[in-house]
Symmetry: C2
Subunit: 411 residues, 2 copies
């Protein structure tokens, strides 16, 4: 017998969840620890309890809905993601991974399946980081990557404190955050990129998450009059910045497959049309799946910035302000996802996640894998974020199959 | 007999004038039609009357201090510039040209020289345009380039009206603006650029003012996630903008001697470090002494912008929002300046003005020339703007000699 999830039921859950914090353009504004976060959590807890799950939450508000297994000596196989959104976010980012967990539990109940391991659905607190920075706080503290007290005392822009807001919405639990071993962790998510859609694949088998380094670059030249300063006497920070942007862009080509380079921020001073800019602030975002490639990219970045600035008589500072190393997911869990996708005859593709996810943190404390499905035009963090019912259903099916595989044959 | 101006007296006038609206850093804040403008005008009028000049002002507040000549049938030889400043301006920009006129008159009085033509010292209203835009309003209306009623009714940022402010400070005259023929016009000014200083020249013989064209360029690409969008699927507005900045800078080299190109403004949206920019707004400032060269530069600008945008799948708008044609000053007046500089054994250089001046407008209605002296590090529109007493004295000497030459041999 093949047991099948019910795609229409899952889709309906997504639509229902999407009513809590709905925006006019069809998206979501459901910031972490807001009234909307409270409401979606209450709705979700009720749905889980209706399926017989025992619901607990820890001191960070991470929410665990447990369906018992045959054996009580095994740690749970977890399925999760997050229910919070960006201020103008979509209905799928994060939400899909949590609600697909609920759908898996419903399907098990419907078919009277009792797994060996307990199954847990997890809603991680504040994945988006839109209200309280940084992002991925619940899973970060859970995995020991972020400091609990720092997170509990961090403030939003209006000075409201994380811990107090968590208390206010009624989800500050007693369980110590992180004191909760998992057998394994599976996260279904929209790709948030254009690759699956462009290649007409339905399932992305996520092998890991690429590494990422962020740099601030400040160039200082000399402000001078655009009409009276000969070209040769200029120390033009904007021309130096432009050459650096071109070089950063070329760097991806130079390094080849797997390299991504972006200059997202450019600010010129005094930013006046008839003044040669004295100063430019800019950023560089370098990504790759391998640390040695990231090292090489950083080295080249330093070289080109130094050479360009020397040529233009512009002084520079280049600071690396973030280094997130590449993550490799658990081989067995990834295999379980791949095999499930194959058995379901879904067009699949091996893929590396370009964005961060709760799974990045969780992978430090439990065998982890992720499943991607396409999203329309690769657009996410946007109210027009969209995915099809077919792809949502395929993703949840693969999730269920991978969980069963793990339950039968996992470590 | 050689008559000589008194450099110490002129320097002292500059220091005295610099006390009206003085800033802590040694500069000036003397915005047009402000209380400070009233005070410096009153001080200046008193000084001119003390030298026997008849002072009139027209309906725009342009101020004419006339020293009579032998002949009453000749129009006056005028010497002028402006007494207003930028909000954080210097003591020399404009002021030198007016006070040097006063020094010329004092020298004539001291030596009992009576010229054939009347001599007039002119303070043009609101050259800087810092409070009421555009710049060069008094001379612009005088020359018929700007509309009188438009200027009289224009407002500052606080909604105060030009005409009312002019009335308030007591300098709205009855004379029709422009109804005041001049034999010729000489303006002494600091260079506001670094060329004379770099080449150790004392006098710049200004042959004209370069032409200038201003462009707004908006590039529209597609915002996408820096971590999930493959390089080949990007439509990156910042990379296109960077290539355009590099190309605009190269354009000056391509066109050669006399071409100046500047990108002063660059603004990226959403200006977030992990988002490929969807849009960039930027400017281009192209300058040259010849219209045909400006035409060629504009043509090339359009070509490179179109080619770069096509390559990056970015759409563009390119608007020319200002075109100020090159100005050639009067050959005889320029010759008079050159000969005066030679007779004074001042190291001189032919130079084109890169910035706009009242002389640009006046040259439309009277034979005109300008004299430049060096300013420290080429810096102007800045409280640290500076010139030496020696150069100020040399400039005023050349001015006096050129005026005498015009008086004896002019048309």
């Amino acid at each position: 017998m093949t047991i099948k999830i019910n795609p229409a039921r899952l889709w309906n859950d997504i639509i229902e969840s999407g009513k809590i914090g709905a925006t006019e353009k069809g998206g979501l504004c459901r910031l972490a620890l807001s009234e909307e976060d409270r409401r979606v959590r209450e709705w979700f807890v009720e749905a889980c309890r209706a399926e017989g799950c025992e619901v607990r939450f820890d001191e960070l508000g991470n929410l665990f809905a447990r369906r018992a297994g045959h054996r009580t000596d095994l740690h749970p196989i977890a399925i999760g993601s997050h229910l919070d959104s960006q201020p103008t976010g979509g209905k799928f980012d994060g939400i899909l991974g949590v609600l697909a967990g609920l759908e898996v539990v419903r399907t098990f109940n419907e078919h009277g399946i009792k797994t060996e391991h307990p199954i847990e659905i997890i809603d991680w607190t504040n994945e988006e980081g839109a209200r309280f920075a940084p992002a991925m706080q619940g899973s970060g503290v859970f995995a020991g990557v972020l400091d609990k007290e720092t997170i509990l005392s961090c403030q939003d822009r209006e000075g409201r404190v994380f811990g107090e807001e968590l208390e206010r919405i009624g989800f500050r639990g007693d369980d110590a955050c992180g004191d909760h071993p998992l057998d394994s962790y599976f996260e279904l998510h929209i790709e948030q990129g254009p690759i699956l859609e462009a290649e007409e694949k339905v399932i992305g088998v996520v092998g890991g998450v690429q590494g990422m380094r962020w740099y601030d670059i400040t160039l200082k030249g000399r402000a001078s009059h655009a009409g009276t300063t000969p070209m040769k006497m200029r120390r033009d920070a904007s021309v130096a910045a432009a050459e650096i942007i071109v070089a950063v862009n070329r760097l991806a080509q130079e390094i080849g497959e797997g390299a991504l380079t972006t200059t997202g921020v450019i600010e010129a001073y005094p930013n006046s049309r008839n003044v040669v800019p004295s100063r430019v602030f800019m950023t560089a975002d370098l990504r790759h799946t391998r640390v040695d490639a990231l090292d090489r990219m950083e080295e080249r970045l330093k070289e080109v910035v130094a050479a360009i600035c020397l040529q233009h008589q512009v002084s520079e500072t280049l600071d690396r302000l973030w280094d997130s190393p590449p993550v490799q997911f658990d081989v067995e869990c990834v295999d379980a996802v791949r095999e499930a996708a194959k058995r379901g005859h879904h067009p699949l593709r091996e893929i590396t996640s370009g964005a961060g996810h709760d799974a990045v943190h969780v992978s430090r404390v439990a065998p982890t894998a992720m499943i991607f499905i396409p999203c329309k035009d690769g657009i996410s963090h946007n109210e027009i974020e969209s995915a099809t019912p077919e792809h949502v259903g395929a993703g949840a099916s693969v999730l269920l199959e991978a969980v069963l595989e793990r339950d039968h044959h996992g470590s």
